[in-house]
Amino acid sequence: MASLVIKDLHASIGDKPIVKGLSLTINSGEVHAIMGPNGTGKSTLAKVIAGHPDYTVTGGDVLLDGKSVLEQEADERARAGLFLAFQYPSEIPGVSIANFLRAAVQARMAEGEEIDAAAYYKRLYARMDMLKIDRKFTSRSVNEGFSGGEKKRCEILQMAILEPKFALMDETDSGLDIDALRIVSEGVNTLRGPGLGVLMITHYQRLLNYIVPDFVHVLYDGRIVKSGDKSLALELEAKGYDWVKRELAAANA
């Protein structure tokens, strides 16, 4: 069974520490939700794990199947089985979704090995149908001129094609109307299974009605301050983040 282990992770942007000693273990088959108020390091955590060059890891480790990924470039981590679903996916003019996904699939093959185009398109179209993405989208430029919902569905499409071991989903619900949220959630739920571990970052509990997590963690000031099962999300919804802050203040007093 695969595992993603985050061990006492510290990370900064410039001189500013953002992640301050975060530990979490995700096993394949599990869905973990990380919730927290804005500005507590949720998105940073996802980018640090994925290998964004703007962040510096100042302590701790991230292990994929027992092997540290911190020395690897973002593309090596992705090929090792990590996937980041972006909160704000980049628009890439002139690069079609078909060419982009092909390059990503090709990157996972041995040198000299060629994609079986017929099989590739068959799989691509099946995933697009599942996510209710018009097949004409393959010739459109990546994310260019897409609505918020289209961008997020396109993220899930990539995840479905690349079949990662662990998906880091950064605010996948943001900017989605209820129909788009349902489609995206159905897509994720279809991909859920013993071969996939998910770290879902969200500000709102709403997403968790659609993608029910096995574990819920509260992130505050760069650390996990509270963990529980899905009922913790409901409690947060009812009591607000101030409840966690007060508890924390009381404990530190």
């Binding site: 470039e73 593309d75 980049s90 982009f100």
Partner: protein
């Protein structure tokens, strides 16, 4: 300022001494005397003109020490050429090796019946002398290479001649292959396209060497003439040896309601200068000038353009895109000239540079010279780096940095490739550009 680094031995004629010119003339078959006289006059002009100097505005930013004519010999005869596929269906095909025609295939049998001429320039000089005389190198060299255009004319051995008569439309492109084979050789490729009234033709030309280590000189030119209502598409794929010095002068004449689209792709060469002149001579004329370059290593691509609007209601649209890697340099200098009576001119000029390296250098000199008062002219130049967020996005999908940059370069080029009407040609150009990234 310290002494110039130009070697003292660099002479204005280099290897092209009078004896070499005499030997060239002696090697030619009997040709019309007017042509031989023009060659003699051209040789005199070449010998009399100095090499470009630091003070020449037309050569600003160029590496002048790289423009040396020593150590080359005009190719004597044509060896067999390598088989290269353009990846497109063609109506006819001409292959040249070291300036000599080595094969001519007409793939569409209807062409001859329609009076279409696809032949060597040598044959055309004898058989269609008036047409050749009217159009061959008939336009002034206004972009700085008068000396090299004269050298081209003097040593021009053979080239391609395409004439599509009035009302004839050729669907599939004519393919022209120009090979330079061997170390130290000089070639002078030429393509002359004359499209008659309402004719339509598309020409795809490939320039290549035997190997990337061959030190070569290529001084080429082409003349495109689009008669009343004609439509001409020209695609030039420059893939010379990475040690070649290439100087190319292209001239386009567009008559009433005619349309010319040209796209020049630059991949090869050590130092490449490409001059492109478009003359919009009658109302309704339209010239679309496109270029794509991938410059790597220490390559220098130097492009100089001139869009001249000589009549009212004419249009020109220039879009040149360069991708620069390593320590490569590009120069773009473009000028739009609108003559006093060319009212309602619509002219556009844009040079965009994508820097894939901190050490590359892109120089851009856009310019306007407008003497009419009712015109729409826009020009601009931009230089940008790869967007690190786009690069990270691609990397986060498992695509290595080099491949990510290649994809982003293709994304950058797509705007130009999309201007081509032929999907097949679009795909063939992509495939050729890809070979450069695989080197």
């Amino acid at each position: 300022m310290s002494a110039t680094s130009t070697p003292a031995i660099r002479s204005a004629i280099g290897a092209f001494k009078p004896e070499a010119f005499a030997a060239h003339l002696a090697s030619l078959p009997p040709l019309p005397s007017w042509w031989i006289e023009r060659k003699r006059a051209a040789y005199e002009r070449f010998a009399g003109l100095p090499l470009p100097a630091r003070t020449d505005e037309a050569w600003r930013f160029s590496n002048l020490s790289g423009v040396a004519l020593e150590g080359f010999a005009p190719a004597a005869s044509g060896p067999s050429a390598p088989a290269i596929s353009m990846g497109i269906k063609k109506s006819a095909r001409l292959t040249f090796a070291n300036g000599a025609l080595i094969s001519r295939e007409t793939l569409d049998p209807a062409l001859e019946k329609q009076g279409v001429i696809i032949d060597s320039l040598r044959n055309a000089l004898t058989r269609h002398g008036d047409l050749v005389r009217e159009h061959l190198l008939a336009q002034p060299a206004r972009l700085g290479s008068a000396k090299f255009t004269a050298l081209h004319e003097a040593f021009l051995s053979d080239g391609a001649f395409i004439h599509v008569p009035k009302g004839i439309q050729i669907e599939l492109p004519v393919g022209i292959f120009s090979h330079a084979l061997g170390d130290g050789i000089a070639v002078f490729p030429h393509t002359l396209v004359v499209a008659g009234e309402n004719a339509r033709v598309s020409v795809v030309e490939y320039f290549g060497s035997g190997g990337d280590e061959e030190n070569q000189l290529a001084i080429g030119a082409n003349d495109l003439y689009a008669g009343h209502g004609a439509q001409v598409t020209y695609v030039g794929k420059q893939d010379w040896s990475h040690r070649a010095l290439a100087l190319q002068s292209n001239s386009t004449v567009v008559r009433r309601d005619a349309r010319v689209q040209s796209l020049n792709l630059h991949l090869g060469g050590r130092q490449v200068r490409h001059e492109s002149l478009s003359q919009l001579q009658a109302p309704g004329a339209f010239s679309e000038m496109l270029s794509l370059s991938v410059a790597h290593g220490e390559q220098e691509f130097d492009q100089r353009t001139l869009q001249i609007h000589q009549a009212p209601d004419t249009k020109s649209d220039l879009l040149y895109k360069n991708a620069l890697l390593d320590r490569a340099r590009t120069i773009f200098s473009g000028l739009i000239v609108v003559d006093p009576d060319a009212q309602r001119t619509d002219a556009y000029q844009s040079n965009r540079n994508l820097m894939l390296s901190e050490d590359a250098e892109a120089n851009s000199l856009p310019g306007l010279e407008i003497q009419a008062n009712d015109v729409r002219c826009t020009h601009g130049a931009t230089t940008s780096r790869i967007d690190p967020e786009q690069e990270f996005y691609l990397q986060s999908r498992g695509i290595a940095k080099a491949q990510a940059d290649e994809l982003l370069t293709f994304g950058f080029f797509e705007e130009v490739l999309n201007r081509l009407a032929s999907d097949e040609l679009h795909a063939a150009l992509r495939a050729l550009i890809q070979t450069k990234f695989k080197r």
